[in-house]
């Protein structure tokens, strides 16, 4: 087996005086989609945020290796430029910063980091518009403030749009499926599918099976009380759908 794209070893994390991750071990090889499932409060979102570098999470121990680098040593913006993308569960509204500008600034930050020239404005717009078509988003969104006045579903589509434009190597999507109706779920799933490729990895953090009907995972992990209590193939998600989480919680206790 080759070195995984993402490798987490015994990761322990605290917020305030509460330990939210109590020793996570996880390997995600390039080319694979992993689902992280679990009940509310199990630490799923904490894991996503720690990977993206959100302030307020104190790492007590363990390591996260991403493409051979110590991910935890990088600032949030450096992780992004290195190809880590977090799709937010609750994307913020930023009135006054327009979507087009943010997309371009984000792409150029990564390109400068790689020593490449900035994108040509015209080519870039053409590319973004093509991706927007895929996400069934109106072009008028580009000139609006980031997520400003967007519905819940539009915000999630916008997250996926950003992901498609940035083409990350590791995408961590935190409950991207929550609050989506059936049609939006299909659009978002299709967007995620287009990113699947041998050199990328996708981590889907989700509460429900339904997203996995559209984006079939290679592996499924169950996170409960800050630990991964069970890992398996796609069939594990189906079992969870049938039996709920309680039986695993009893095992973990």
């Amino acid at each position: 087996m080759t070195t995984p794209l993402l490798s987490i070893r015994d990761l322990r994390v605290r917020i305030g005086d509460r330990e939210v991750l109590k020793g996570i071990d996880l390997d995600v090889p390039a080319g694979e989609v992993h689902a992280i499932m679990g009940p509310n409060g199990s630490g799923k979102s904490s894991l996503s945020h720690v990977l993206a570098g959100r302030p307020g999470y104190e790492v007590l121990g363990g390591s996260v290796t991403y493409l051979g680098k110590d991910l935890l040593a990088l600032a949030p913006e450096e992780r992004a430029r290195e190809g880590v993308f977090l799709g937010f569960q609750y994307p913020v509204e930023i009135p006054g910063v327009n979507n087009a500008y943010l997309l371009k600034a984000a792409v150029n930050a990564a390109r400068r980091h790689r020593g490449e020239p900035e994108v040509d404005a015209f080519d870039f717009l053409t590319l973004v518009k093509a991706k927007m078509q895929l996400m069934k988003m109106d072009e008028a969104f580009l000139s609006r403030g980031v997520n400003e006045g967007f519905s819940g579903g539009e915000k999630k589509r916008n997250e996926i749009l950003q992901m498609l434009v940035l083409e990350p190597k590791l995408a961590v999507l935190d409950e991207t499926d929550s609050g989506l109706d059936i049609d939006a779920l299909k659009i978002v799933s299709a967007g995620i599918q287009t990113l699947r490729s041998p050199e990328r990895a996708i981590v889907l953090v989700t509460h429900y099976q339904r997203l996995l009907d559209h984006v079939a995972p290679d592996r499924v992990h169950v996170l409960a009380r800050g630990r991964i209590v069970r890992s398996g193939g796609p069939e594990l998600a189906l079992e969870l759908e049938r039996r709920g989480y309680d039986w695993l919680l009893e095992d973990a206790a």
């Binding site: 959100r54 949030p76 913006e77 993308f85 937010f88 910063v97 600034a105 930050a109 990564a110």
Partner: protein
């Protein structure tokens, strides 16, 4: 302190009046205003309504007007302060309160309006109170008064330029505007330059918008960094009138803007956009009093402040809804952003309602940048400095977006970029 000020005021005024033709110096309106100004004196230091105003600077400032410049001197000093002209706007240029004819065109050329230059002021429908006491000081000293009566449609820019004079005297720009019934005025009023730290600038503007008239009024205070400004604005709105005031303040060492607007006719509506940007030790103090007197009147205020360095910004916005103003609608949104630990923003929305039949809302928040917004931008690869500057810029965007003259908006955007030291915003503007 006040007694000394009053004595000095009367002495300096007597010497000044003696230099005027007798009819002007002794004019009863001038005597009346002088009486009011000297009786009011300066606000006591502990007066809450003036807590953020630099009254010490006024106390020390010379009150007699600046020595008149020769037209050559005025022209030479004005040219370096002149902004790019706005397309399709008539222009009046005043230097230290005197009209500079070579840069102003002929008053008779104004279409849709009549301009009169007068040596004596007229007190408007809405008389000043102690809250706008510097309007009395202005009326006691002003000599080149622009009185504008708009009957059709007019787009006018009025530039008040201030330059140093040997006597470091004060300047008293004064503009009296009547927008007729169904008439329409777009007015851009700018205050630029400065006479030095000891020279007081006390502009006074009166606006009366007639029935179903519309006035769109942009006021830019972009004075020299050592200027001291005590500004007054009084406005009344007749039935169905619309007044949109955009007040932008980022210059001067200290500036006080005292504004009072009365919605006296049924269905009159008011929009106020205010933005103050400050750094270093600048103090920008804005007091706005809105009076709903007639039925079905509405007012909406959006006030934004960004304070950096050790500067201070205050917005004191008071709305009064009289018992006669049933069906009134009032909204106030005040937001302050602290760009550094030593800066201060003080926001005070106040609401006094004397009728049950009213819709009113107000909100005021001051703080540092939103951590969630900041992290969102970092998570997309933007560096922290760029992200912060971008959010500062975004903070004032709702005021900017209401500037409806594209050329002016561009000028204001560039000036704000400069003021905030914000190269990121400049890139975002491209």
């Amino acid at each position: 302190m006040s007694a000394n000020f009053a004595t000095r005021l009367l002495e300096e005024h007597a010497a000044f009046a003696a230099t005027l033709p007798r009819a002007q110096g002794e004019a009863s309106e001038r005597r009346h205003a002088l009486g009011k100004a000297s009786a009011a004196g300066l606000p006591p230091l502990r007066d809450d309504a003036w807590r953020y105003s630099n009254l010490r600077a006024v106390e020390k400032a010379r009150l007699a007007p600046a020595t008149p410049l020769t037209p050559e001197q005025a022209l030479a000093s004005a040219s370096r302060l002149l902004p790019q002209p706005l397309p399709d706007f008539a222009r009046l240029v005043f230097v230290n309160g005197q009209l500079l004819r070579p840069l102003s065109g002929e008053p008779a050329d104004l279409v849709g309006a009549r301009l009169e230059l007068s040596s004596g002021h007229t007190e408007g429908v809405l008389a000043p109170t102690a809250d706008e006491r510097f309007a009395w000081l202005n009326a006691a000293f002003a000599t080149d008064i622009a009185r504008l009566a708009v009957s059709g449609t007019l787009q006018l820019e009025v530039l008040y330029l201030t330059v140093p004079t040997p006597n470091a005297g004060a300047t008293y720009p004064r503009l009296e505007v009547a927008v007729g019934n169904h008439a329409r005025l777009v007015l851009v009023e700018r205050h630029l330059g400065g006479g030095g730290p000891a020279a007081l600038n006390a502009p006074s503007v009166q606006i009366e918008v007639g029935a179903a008239g519309v006035a769109e009024h942009y006021r830019l205070q972009a004075s020299a960094p050592d200027a001291v400004i005590m500004d007054s604005l009084l406005a009344t709105l007749a039935a169905g009138a619309r007044y949109e005031l955009t007040q932008l303040s980022w210059g001067a060492a200290s500036a006080r803007h005292s504004t009072r607007i009365q919605l006296s006719g049924e269905g009159a509506s008011l929009l106020v956009n205010g933005m103050s940007l400050s750094d270093a030790n600048r103090v920008l103090d804005t007091a706005i009093q809105v009076e709903h007197v007639a039925r079905r009147t509405s007012s909406e205020q959006t006030l934004r402040a960004i304070a950096n360095g050790r500067s201070r910004i205050a917005f004191n916005s008071r709305v009064e809804v009289a018992s006669s103003a049933g069906g009134a609608d009032s909204r106030q949104s005040l937001k302050g952003l602290l760009g550094s630990p030593g800066a201060e923003v003080n926001l005070r929305p106040q609401l006094e309602i004397s009728t049950d039949e009213v819709k009113a809302s107000h909100g005021a928040t001051t703080g540092a940048l939103d951590d969630n917004m900041l992290f969102y931008l970092l998570s997309r690869g933007l560096d922290p400095d760029t992200a912060r500057k971008l959010l500062e810029w975004a903070f004032i965007e709702d005021v900017m977006s209401r500037i409806r003259i594209p050329a002016l908006r561009r000028q204001v955007e560039l000036a704000s970029v400069d003021c905030l030291g914000n190269a990121t915003a400049l890139e975002a503007l491209r």
